[in-house]
């Protein structure tokens, strides 16, 4: 099939009456399943002669066992160290020699990998991905595990320990969930557990979770669908089916009271984190909380930015986000105090604004401002085929979470269909005063700068 790219009913350049509009997006794909259970998604986009090969494994740090936190992510690192037909170091060397780039990432739910390559190197990427899916263990030595163990420990130092306020989320995870909940430990893991990971752990993890039936391969870009299907079938034909792990389950987490904590850090200014448990990814309430985040902190006129940073100037910054995951999400508001101002002052304002939104919904225009931003961002998502969040990655994400790779429109309409009272009721439901974690990070030796009085928990 040749390039065919159409924009139907493209908007002419006419003065717009109001920005209320609905973008309809369609990302056509071909999907098939190999006999070994591997799901495959193909999408053609010939904008540049580039292809992205993207692999999702439906396993994240939530699957880890006690005493082995950080293992899923360590395993992701090991997967770049070669396989039976790819000597150590050659994975990157061969890809770079073909003009390719690659990366991987791990979160609590999944692990993803991608290779962005010129279109002539598609087969190289398929060779590499199929070799590490089907022929990994014969090449692995304890030294490989040790080498990446040190790299990951340095990743932990660089991303958390040596970064101001860097320990916040490691602390928050463990305080928001019961110790047996899969989200109670951080994906990066603890130093002790990283030291304990063994070669046997690698073998067991690979055999259980890195099976074709627990993975999805998505290829987007300058491909010919028929030819690509033939190549995928060829390179993955000798990868043995090894079954699919049972779905992960966990009791719905619940915060029954307000927890207060304080951490001292090498920082000049205190910072407050207020976090709640919220609706899981793609469930009712999830998109609402994304819009709540926009109403509170997106743009100068957002409720909290305007009061804390713009009008009162008691805070240097304020952020919020809905961190969506498959079994539970977290919503956090984060704000750093200006010199001479206290976290108590900041918390009081945050509380006032939350109370106000619980009593009275946001205006229609506030909600629409955030929706319009989402609508435009979906256009941006169509431009890039590769990397994290490119089309190949998005097709895999949607397939893994909803069963429908082309879930773009449905996803967008989750946002566009909401109104002010939906936002109000999400705030009432999720942002409870009597079920949250309030963490203060304060300069060393100054625990008295914490917001409120820390509970004994």
């Amino acid at each position: 099939m040749r390039r065919c790219l159409a924009v139907l009913a493209a908007v002419a350049l006419l003065p717009a009456a109001a920005p209320a509009q609905e973008t309809q997006i369609e990302v056509p794909y071909t999907r098939f399943v190999l006999p070994n259970g591997l799901n495959v998604i193909l999408h053609e986009d010939h904008t540049t002669p580039t292809v992205s090969v993207n692999m999702w494994y439906d396993v994240g740090s939530g699957r880890e066992k006690p005493g082995r936190t950080g293992f899923a992510h360590l395993f992701e690192h090991i997967l770049f160290e070669g396989s039976e037909n790819v000597p150590e170091g050659k994975f990157d060397e061969w890809l770079e020699s073909a003009g390719g780039n690659n990366n991987g990432s791990t979160n609590s739910d999944r692990t993803n990998y991608w290779e962005d390559i010129p279109s002539n190197a598609l087969e190289l990427a398929l060779f590499l991905e199929s070799d590490r899916m089907g022929h990994l263990l014969g090449s692995l030595s304890p030294e490989t595990v040790d080498g990446q163990r040190n790299v990951v420990k340095n990743e932990r130092r660089q991303s958390y320990e040596n970064r101001p306020y860097g320990m916040a989320f490691l602390t928050l995870d463990s305080s928001m969930y019961a110790p047996d909940h899969p989200y109670s430990w951080p994906t990066i893991g603890s130093m002790e557990d990283l030291s304990a990971a063994s070669h046997e752990d690698v073998v067991e993890f690979f055999n259980t979770y890195y099976t074709p039936a627990n993975a999805s391969l998505s290829i987007a870009g300058a491909i010919d669908t028929e030819e690509t299907r033939r190549l995928v079938e060829h390179w993955f034909s000798d990868v043995e089916g090894r079954g699919k792990p049972a779905p992960i389950t966990a009791p719905t987490p619940y915060l029954a009271y307000e927890k207060r904590m304080v951490l001292e850090d090498r920082v000049q200014l205190p910072r407050i984190y207020m976090c709640w448990l919220t609706a899981p990814l793609h469930t009712p309430g999830d998109a609402e909380m994304d819009i709540v985040s926009g109403v509170l902190t997106d743009g100068k006129t957002s409720r909290l930015y305007r009061r804390l940073v713009y009008d009162l100037q008691i805070a240097q910054d304020v952020f919020s986000f809905q961190g969506s995951s498959a079994m539970s999400s977290q919503f956090c508001i984060i704000s750093t105090a200006r010199a001479g101002h206290s976290l108590d002052e900041i918390e009081t304002v945050i509380q006032e604004e939350l109370d106000r939104l619980k009593a009275e919904p946001p205006s229609k225009r506030e909600v629409q401002r955030i929706q319009n931003g989402y609508e435009a961002s979906f256009l941006d998502r169509l431009e890039r085929i590769g990397g994290f969040g490119g089309k190949a990655d998005a097709l895999n994400a949607y397939y893994t979470r909803t069963g429908n790779p082309d879930y773009f429109n449905e996803d967008l309409s989750r946002y566009m269909s909401l109104g002010p009272t939906d936002i109000q009721s999400a705030i009432q439901t999720f942002l409870r005063d009597d079920g949250r974690v309030v963490l203060s990070i304060v300069p060393q030796g100054k625990p008295e700068l914490a917001a409120g009085r820390p509970s004994t928990e």
Partner: protein, 488 residues
């Protein structure tokens, strides 16, 4: 309600489930990586360059598959144009552009842009200020006048200037917490000196920031923000005629003016090797920077240097990363780069390494800096050339990225055929070229070495390496005391 329907068509609409047929039984040959066919080439639409009626230059490239438009205004003014007594003036001027403009105050302007689903981002560098509009095509007519207000009619209201002043002074306070920020400040100062614009932090100093007045900002804007000192870059789903008419209507009245010529001095090269150790008690890692002054962007050695640096430290498979990360496990990542600018920028090798191996990491860095002067292999040459050249087309997917590429042509006055020649120029670099530029630009005996880390743990080891004189500084020696923020 209007509907935009975007369809990426694969020959059939929607989902296409292929039937299983012709499954082959033959197992793949894994004895060697598959042979690859010839690499594809990218054919770009030509860049159209023309002027509006007032002489404002336009660079235009269509990109029609997603209904988005990117319009970047680039003004040739930056940190290098700061008066000696007012470091930070260019950067503060840029920051103030979208803090109220035209008839709209800061809050109204921000809300108006956000409501369109568009963004206007202001950035300032050593020699340029850019104002970038990214908008859905459907909002172009509402967004473009706001862009023009930001560029032409910023308000510089005194209360907004004071607000930004406090914001920036607080950033200076927070820099004391950031090992990377501390390393950058002392590294730039050591290389370029505190009399050269590249050696001065872009925010300026607490004193210059405190003294900066509304009149200073207005005057700076009036002097440099003129059409004969600027370009408009347009990339997106809009025809040349459609956009030209709209640009005329919002920028046509912008009057030219005379711009003072920049007198940029060449930075003085590092003549010996010195170590600066900045004490950051309790740091889990040491931030390392090793480097010297490199070369400007228009050097004929640009392509050879790019290939050489890719071998040395420019990619994951490069020598520095393979050694310090993959072989030794000292770091999460180590790299090197050349900052090619209008004036010679830095050549830098850098990493954040575990505190306990700080001295060993320095040894490995110097091993690699020495070794690149000895030889490179043909395998490395092929990998580096292909890595740089064959990835080039992937830079042309998103309108914002393409506009960024076009902006580079303008800023560095690169030749018209630059994009078409790039791949061939990189592929033509020889081993002899690489060895020549390595020996010319990498001099391990004449470099600044910066280490920001826990002195108690690392000083003895660093001293014992005998790299050169070791100067120990405190964070306050580098950044000064945290400034007072008025109103607190």
């Amino acid at each position: 309600m209007r509907t935009t329907r975007i369809l990426f068509c694969a020959g059939a609409l929607g989902v296409l489930l292929l039937s299983s047929e012709g499954l082959e039984a033959q197992a793949p040959d894994r004895s060697q990586p598959p042979e690859l066919g010839p690499p594809p080439t990218l054919s770009l639409p030509s860049i159209e360059r023309y002027e509006l009626s007032n002489g404002l230059q336009v660079m235009y490239m269509p990109k029609r598959n997603v209904p988005l438009v990117q319009i970047n205004i680039i003004v040739k003014v930056g940190q290098a144009d700061d008066p000696d007594s007012q470091p930070g003036l260019a950067s503060m001027t840029a920051t103030m552009l979208d803090e109220g403009a035209g008839e709209l105050n800061a809050l109204e302007l921000s809300e108006a842009i956000d409501f369109l689903g568009a963004s206007i981002r202001v950035g300032s560098g050593e020699h340029t200020t850019s104002i970038a509009l990214h908008t859905p095509l459907s909002m172009l007519d509402e967004a473009l006048p706001l862009l023009a207000d930001v560029v032409l009619r910023p308000q510089f209201a005194v209360e907004e200037v004071d607000r930004q002043r406090r914001q920036r002074l607080t950033q200076m306070v927070q820099a004391h917490d950031e090992p990377r920020a501390i390393a950058q400040v002392i590294y730039d100062r050591t290389l370029f000196g505190d009399a050269h614009p590249y050696g001065i932090p872009f925010l300026g100093t607490a004193q210059s920031l405190t003294e900066m007045s509304v009149d200073d900002l207005r005057e700076f804007h009036r002097t440099f923000f003129v059409p004969n000192n600027s370009v408009v870059v347009v990339v997106g789903d809009v025809s040349r005629d459609e956009i030209t008419e709209r640009l005329e209507s919002v920028f046509g009245d912008w009057s030219p003016g005379s711009v003072p010529t920049s007198t940029h001095t060449q930075p003085q090269q590092i003549q010996s090797r010195e170590v600066i150790l900045v004490d950051k008690p309790g740091a889990a890692q040491s931030e390392i920077r090793i480097g010297r002054i490199g070369v400007h962007r228009k050097t004929e050695d640009y392509y050879a240097l790019t290939v050489m640096n890719t071998i040395l430290g420019g990619s994951f498979a490069s020598r520095i990363n393979q050694n310090l990360r993959e072989d030794k496990g000292y770091t999460y990542g180590a790299r090197s780069y050349f900052d090619f600018n209008l004036l010679p920028g830095a050549f830098t090798a850098y990493a954040a390494v575990q505190t306990a191996v700080t001295d060993s990491a320095l040894v490995e860095f110097f091993k690699e800096l020495d070794a690149i002067l000895e030889d490179v292999t043909e395998g490395e040459m092929t990998r580096a050339r292909n890595f740089v050249a064959l990835r080039f087309p992937s830079r042309f997917q998103a309108v914002s990225a393409i506009a960024g590429q076009l902006g580079q042509l303008y800023i560095h006055e690169l030749p018209e055929g630059y994009f078409n020649e790039y791949v061939q120029q990189i592929l033509a670099v020889t081993k002899e070229d690489v060895m020549r530029v390595a020996r010319e630009y990498i001099d391990p005996q004449r470099v600044a070495v910066i280490v920001v880390g826990d002195r108690e743990q690392i000083e003895a080891g660093v001293q014992a390496l005998d790299l050169g004189p070791v100067h120990v500084l405190s964070v306050e020696d580098v950044l000064g005391p945290p400034p007072e923020v008025p109103g607190s």
